[in-house]
């Protein structure tokens, strides 16, 4: 029996429906879980994604042919039936369910299991085979509750604001930046944004996502009048000449990798906030259990270790070779 999905050199391929999921080389028909650059690449003939993911895809990939589906609605493609289900990773992100005959597979894309108050909460989908990400698939990764992290960020900002200094926070421009934004206490001061973050904010606001007010930093922005503001920028911008305009600012990064002291120190920011849009170790195991899947394929991160653990715990698991890995999956990547 041919598997419902298999890894090819172009991406996860469904032979029954002749389409790919999150392919990394140009293909005719691509189903996209979410807009991060390792999942949504340019050059495909046709794109299919959730309604909420489409504006970001257009924003990032330009003039592409996109069709959309609401969450949960089934669509027949060839001999396969596909549907999109919330992944809780960022607004519009989805897991993709593929059924062929009686056989159900789910490709998770990137996901987190705890609600963040901003995107559609993760929804477990029953299946026979589950292709899961495992960016943080080690038992050392366990996230603190979101309000705790929010309190840490606000305390750090309030301290900087009290000294009249800027607080520069490095966060990936799609997803993490908006999540951080939603956690901030507007009573502390104004929030400024780097161009890459503001452009994404604009796309998401236009589709109705309620985001607090932000000011885009331009050469004309009166920074003196906004001393003590929090500035959200892509991590790579923090070490660049762009950041120098804020003077003796305090700097921080928000990422799951900040759980590790070595990486926190390597980043050379003053602070590291452990805030991830990927599932932690307990989250991954809960999600896998909830699918009821017997077979699990692991992508992103420590796939071999993770699969070995699943095997020892009674699943039939193996690593799947993909070219995913971007935003948080590569802790050292500049973006």
């Amino acid at each position: 029996m041919t598997p419902v999905l298999r890894a090819t050199d172009r991406g996860l391929y469904c032979a029954a429906g002749d389409f790919f999921i999150d392919p990394w080389r140009p293909v005719d028909r691509a189903l996209i879980t979410h807009g991060h650059s390792d999942h949504a690449r340019s050059g495909h003939g046709r794109y299919l994604c959730t309604r909420a993911a489409a504006p970001v895809l257009r924003h990032r990939l330009g003039d592409i042919r996109v069709e959309t589906l609401p969450y949960g609605e089934e669509r027949r493609i060839g001999d396969a039936t596909v549907s999109f289900h919330p992944a809780g990773h960022l607004p519009g992100s989805a897991q993709i369910r593929v059924a062929v005959g009686g056989e159900v597979w789910v490709a998770s894309g990137d996901y987190k299991t705890t609600p963040d108050g901003l995107c559609e909460p993760f929804e477990p989908v029953r299946c026979h085979s589950f292709i899961t990400e495992c960016t943080f698939g080690l038992p050392v990764f366990k996230w603190a509750p979101q309000p705790e992290v929010a309190a840490q960020i606000n305390a750090w900002w309030a301290q900087a604001a009290g000294q009249g200094r800027f607080a520069l926070l490095g966060a990936y421009s799609l997803g993490k930046a908006q999540r951080v934004l939603s956690l901030l206490d507007p009573g502390i001061g104004p929030v400024l944004t780097h161009g890459a973050v503001e452009a994404t904010n604009a796309v998401l606001r236009a589709q109705g996502l309620p985001l607090p007010e932000t000011t885009h930093v331009t050469p004309d922005t009166d920074l003196k009048a906004r001393a003590g503001a929090l500035v959200i920028a892509p991590p790579s911008a923090l070490g660049s000449s762009w950041a120098r305009r804020f003077g003796p600012a305090t700097t921080a990064f928000a990422s799951g990798w900040m759980a590790l002291r070595g990486i926190r120190r390597r980043r050379a920011g003053d602070r590291g906030f452990v805030l991830s849009d990927h599932a932690d170790w307990p989250g991954l195991l809960d999600a896998i259990r909830a699918t009821g899947a017997e077979t699990v394929y692991a992508t992103h991160g420590y796939t071999e270790i993770f699969a070995r653990y699943l095997n020892s715990a009674g699943w039939n698991a193996q690593p799947l070779l993909t070219e995913y890995g971007g935003e948080e999956t590569e802790p050292e990547s500049p973006a």
């Binding site: 990798w257 590790l260 070595g262 390597r266 003053d270 070219e323 050292e332 990547s333």
Partner: protein
């Protein structure tokens, strides 16, 4: 542990030196004395005697976390620190406690006389009442290696500010083999000192690498040149009829080098010498490789004593007749040293490291070029008028090393780094050609920029041919220029050679792998040295 954890967090949460020192100063002003003395001990590389092995720690942590041991072992290299791995993997504590640092140290010391089962229960109970940060620090008390982003120098500065003592006096007082058992905080830091312990060494003066041409140093007549030996920097202390040998890392090495005991037969008490321990035979130093087997050993087997006997090549006299000479100029210290050395018989375990006469810089440059033939790494330049300072200070002492030897080699294996470099591929194995085969000949870890490490990491992920545990074999495609300070024959290695201080100096994007060096090239270098 909360106060100590707060200090750690304050230091860890800033990259600014002034903020770190301020946090330490505040701690030294407010913490209880019993905590302070232990904090000083920990931050200067001391730790309570180990009551629990790291193997036991791993077993018990895996058990408490409900994960298989192998999974904890696999996580460790990714986290980069065992104490941190365990702190993170454990379930959240069930309780909290206000017990201070010294309480936990006492508790650990009490375990020396406890059964293994009682030790296990005590450790599990500690973990169950400490937060992640407190646990990390508690584990560090056991595993050692308290490098938490504040150097000993900064700690001494903070302590000087908090206590009102002079910083250099404190630096000297903190040297040597005191422990919180033998001395309390006020006696170590605050009290007027009546008699210093005989064993206490002076802080070592460390040289900077000379980057400019030596002409920039001015008149050659102001400078003294010596060989830069490739051995172990050491202070030999002769006081009260006995002797002590200290390493630069403040390790007491007296028993490791029993040859030096005979120095007490020839040199009067009240003498402190600074120099280099080298393996020595028939009037010449042996290569560092011969000395190496003696480094890790607490006691030395007879065969090794015969094979690699050591002496101290002395180049400075820090104390004579019990008087601290560090403030007098080098020229005067050197004259006294030479006079002292002249009185020694030829078989004494101490010899002078001779000053190299030179009239101008080109002459010295020519002499330096001969360093390898003298079994030296280059020359040292010391200002004749300079006092003996503490620590690394620019201006008076320079090391002027030979240019390294280099080869172009092919990257064949890669492994992820530890700690700060966790998650980057930073540990590489390189090969040279032997006919049509690539023969591995060295590993190297450093020398690339962060950006280059990121690039090569992304490349390694995409070009892994095979995995052997944490090691990845990669497609032979990239050539790197490898620099090193020495080359020696080594039957233990497949290539038959071993390099000293290998590091990457350049990523040769311009070179195809066919143009990498050959094993014959390396053998020629070996014959030449």
């Amino acid at each position: 542990m909360k106060t100590f954890a707060a200090l750690y967090t304050a230091i860890d949460q800033t990259t600014k030196t002034s903020a770190k020192v301020a946090a330490m100063r505040e701690y030294f002003r407010t913490a209880p004395d019993a905590d302070k003395i232990w904090t000083i001990a920990l931050f200067s590389g001391r730790r309570p005697k180990r009551a629990v092995t790291t193997t036991q720690l791993r077993d018990w942590a895996a058990e408490a976390a409900g994960v298989p041991l192998w999974l904890l072992e696999e996580s460790y290299p990714i986290v980069g620190d065992l104490a941190e791995t365990i702190a993170l993997v454990l379930p959240p504590p069930a309780r909290t406690t206000d017990r201070p640092l010294h309480h936990w140290i006492e508790a650990l010391r009490a375990l020396h006389v406890a059964s293994v089962e009682d030790r296990r229960l005590a450790i599990l109970s500690a973990w169950d009442q400490l937060s992640v940060t407190e646990r990390f620090l508690f584990n560090k008390l056991i595993t050692g290696g308290f490098r938490i982003g504040i150097s000993r120098k900064l700690m001494t500065r903070a302590l000087a500010q908090a206590s009102g003592q002079d910083e250099s006096v404190l630096a000297h007082r903190l040297m040597g083999d005191w422990s919180p058992d033998s001395i309390g905080y006020s006696a170590l830091v605050e009290a007027e000192e009546t008699a210093a312990p005989d064993s206490r060494p002076y802080p070592f003066y460390l040289a900077y690498q000379l980057e400019a041409e030596p002409e920039a140093l001015g008149d050659p007549a102001d400078w003294q040149a010596e060989w830069k030996w490739d051995g172990i920097r050491a202070q030999l202390i002769l006081r009260g009829g006995t002797h002590f040998v200290w390493s630069r890392g403040e390790e007491l090495m007296t028993d490791r080098f029993p040859e030096l005991a005979r120095a007490t037969d020839f040199i009067p008490p009240g003498t402190v010498l600074d120099g280099e321990i080298v393996a020595w035979k028939d009037g010449v130093p042996l290569p560092f490789a011969r000395l190496q087997p003696r480094i890790g050993r607490k006691t030395v087997p007879k065969a090794l004593l015969r094979d690699a006997p050591v002496i101290l090549l002395a180049y400075d006299l820090l104390e004579q007749d019990g008087t601290d000479l560090r403030d007098s100029p080098l020229a005067e210290r050197r004259a006294r040293l030479d006079a002292l050395m002249r009185s020694l018989p030829p078989d004494a375990p101490v010899r002078p490291s001779p000053a190299i006469p030179f009239g101008d810089w080109p002459t010295l440059a020519a002499t330096r070029a001969e360093a390898r033939a003298e079994m030296a790494e280059g020359v040292m330049l010391k200002r004749r008028a300079s006092p003996y300072l503490a620590g690394r200070k620019k201006g008076d002492w320079w090391k002027w090393k030979l240019d390294p030897m280099t080869v172009d080699a092919v990257l064949i294996y890669a492994q992820q780094g530890h700690g700060r470099r966790a998650n980057l591929f930073t540990d590489f194995t390189f090969a040279v050609w032997n006919g049509n085969d690539l023969v591995p000949f060295t590993k190297a870890y450093s020398g690339l920029t962060d950006e280059e490490f990121r690039q090569i990491t992304a490349w390694v992920r995409r070009n892994t041919v095979q995995r052997f545990g944490p090691v990845r074999q990669v497609t032979p495609e990239h050539v790197f220029e490898i620099a090193f300070e020495g080359i020696q024959p080594s039957p233990r290695h497949k290539s038959g050679i071993a390099l000293r201080f290998p590091r990457m100096v350049r990523w040769r994007h311009d070179k195809p792998i066919q143009e990498a060096n050959t094993l014959d090239d390396l053998k020629k270098l070996l014959d030449a040295h």
